[in-house]
């Protein structure tokens, strides 16, 4: 670094925290400022729709790194601080209170924002979406109120967030309806066989699932929610609505500063943006892949790996993000683990017991493994991850055959040899 000016990280979530920590690990000894809009130090978001939703403990239980850690890393925390603008020509950021802070280099990790329903009534009190701690608390309170008053919770969107919240709401004793616009659950990311297993699971726990249900209006009565009306005229009476219809990258700050954005801040596989002094990581980015396609991932792993790449890039080093993407979800007693990207698959085979459920769906294209979704099949997930990391593939017949040992494909590879030693 040629300048005395600090590195400023905008966004104190998983990615922002990772950039800060990795910068120290990369040997950066200069001043480091981490700006977060929320009042909380960096925390984990996944529990907000899972464990923490039904049993909200102390905020400290979610913290990514304790105060001792932040002190040890010599990070200047500016919490409750919104960055209003980036002035690239003067190399300054402008804070919400008008203060201007110079930067030597800059990292953007502003995350994503929940999509809102473009329908009348969407801004009624009691229409909730999940982003941060305050939202999780509000959703938990809304569900409890519904459970106590015997009113229904309507969840708009049958994706990860909607279904995790549905599971939580059932645990809290509320009646739940999920309205999904498409013909099946999690259709963007999973094969029909996985969607069907989750539909059985949720129905088995008493959740009403409605498919092809497009919301037309949220009907209020005396300032409160009365019902959700769909375009086919159905009304679903309820006391609380949770909207989980996906997220959009929060790239406004970057776009306003003239950085190249295409539904996300465009970065390369080393987290570099179109400005050599600026990197970006996490949900706010769209990563340019080798084939020119833009890839958006919304996951903890992506935030961490891009964060590491971003820190290396700030230090003038190259650290590509090449790991196989993975995700997880918890719904009731089912642990869903996904590894790889299934887009473009032309064949799916299953391994294990669909009814239990304890099975994995293996996605292939032209006979090569792309991705695996595992429901309560940790060993499949773990073994598939190793195969995908090494570019190895079982045949579809091998994947479907429980007698076939997936790790046998690793034999001869370097790591398998090390493990056996």
């Amino acid at each position: 670094m040629d300048s005395q000016a600090p590195i400023i990280i905008v966004g104190a979530g998983q990615a922002g925290m990772q950039i800060a920590e990795s910068l120290r690990q990369e040997g950066f000894g200069g001043a480091l400022i981490l700006c977060g809009e929320e009042p909380h130090p960096p925390y984990q978001r996944p529990p907000l729709s899972k464990k923490w939703l039904i049993d909200a403990g102390a905020v400290g239980a979610l913290t990514l790194r304790g105060p001792a850690a932040l002190e040890r890393l010599k990070i200047t925390m500016k919490l409750g601080t919104r960055v209003r603008a980036i002035d690239r020509s003067r190399r300054e950021v402008e804070l919400a209170d008008g203060a201007r802070v110079p930067y030597g280099k800059l990292a953007i990790a502003t995350g994503s924002l929940p999509r809102t329903l473009p329908v009348p009534g969407a801004s009624l009190p009691g229409v909730l979406a999940l982003r941060g701690i305050a939202d999780s608390l509000a959703i938990g309170a809304g569900i409890r109120r519904c459970a106590a008053e015997g009113r229904r919770v309507v969840i708009v969107g049958g994706g990860f967030i909607g279904l995790e919240v549905a599971a939580g709401a059932r645990k809290l004793g509320a009646e739940v309806t999920v309205l999904e616009g498409l013909p099946r659950l999690m259709s963007r990311v999973t094969a029909p066989v996985v969607s069907e297993a989750f539909a059985r699971l949720h129905r088995g726990h008493g959740v009403q699932l409605m498919f092809g249900a497009q919301v037309a209006e949220i009907v209020g009565h005396e300032g409160r929610i009365a019902a959700v009306r769909t375009v086919d005229g159905q009304e679903y009476r309820c006391g609380c609505v949770v909207v989980g219809i996906g997220v959009e990258p929060d790239d406004l700050l970057a776009r306003s500063a003239g950085l190249l954005c295409e539904r996300g801040i465009v970065v390369d596989d080393c987290s570099r943006t179109s400005d050599p002094l600026i990197v970006a990581a996490g949900d706010c980015t769209a990563r340019r892949m080798g084939d020119g396609e833009l890839l958006r991932l919304e996951s903890v792993q992506n935030a961490i790996e891009q964060g590491k790449s971003a820190a290396a890039a700030l230090m003038g080093r190259t650290r590509q993000f090449i790991n196989t993407p993975w995700f997880w979800s918890d719904q009731y007693d089912v642990k869903l683990q996904m590894v790889g990207l299934s887009r473009g698959y032309d064949q799916v085979v299953t391994r294990g017991d669909l009814a239990k459920p304890a099975f994995s769906a293996f996605y292939f294209r032209a006979g090569r493994l792309l991705a695996v979704d595992s429901l309560n099949r940790i060993s499949d997930h773990m073994q598939s991850k190793r195969l995908l990391d090494r570019g190895l593939s079982p045949t579809p017949a091998q994947a479907a055959d429980l007698q076939f040992e997936l790790p046998s494909l690793l034999k001869g590879s370097r790591e398998a040899t090390a493990d056996e030693a």
């Binding site: 920590e21 690990q25 984990q44 996944p46 529990p47 913290t63 990514l64 790194r65 304790g66 001792a68 850690a69 932040l70 002190e71 040890r72 890393l73 903890v300 792993q301 961490i304 790996e305 790991n323 993975w326 997880w328 918890d330 642990k335 683990q337 940790i378 060993s379 997930h381 773990m382 073994q383 991850k385 190793r386 090390a418 493990d419």
Partner: protein, 107 residues
């Protein structure tokens, strides 16, 4: 409170007093130790809080659950007989003096 000794990948030792009931992963993350990532936040879903338990303590720990045993197969660094996931190791008084070491990589 029980003291747990951590050895970071570069060999540096850090001793922490931890409240019983919390995980070794949580204690290490709160203190900002290097050598672990804990990507899934303690859900036994990622195997990025892998540690090596000092040999004499191995028998004093509760054995790994089926889930942990399976996830251990997915660690990035070398899997050894004393490998455990630190999110599944819960501090108790009897573990005063427990020593664990973090490997050089987690992902």
């Amino acid at each position: 409170m029980p003291r747990v000794r951590y050895i970071e990948p570069d060999g540096r030792e850090v001793a922490l007093e931890l409240a019983p009931g919390q995980s070794l992963m949580r204690g290490a993350m709160d203190a900002g130790l290097s050598g672990l990532e804990a990507q899934c936040g303690g859900n036994c879903a990622c195997a990025t809080c892998h540690c090596y338990v000092q040999a004499e303590w191995l028998d004093k720990l509760k054995p790994p659950s089926d889930d942990e045993r399976l996830m251990l197969g997915n660690v990035a660094a070398e899997l050894r007989p004393n490998s455990r996931l630190s999110c599944q190791l819960i501090v108790e008084d009897a573990l005063d003096g427990l020593t664990v070491q973090f490997p050089d990589r987690q992902s």
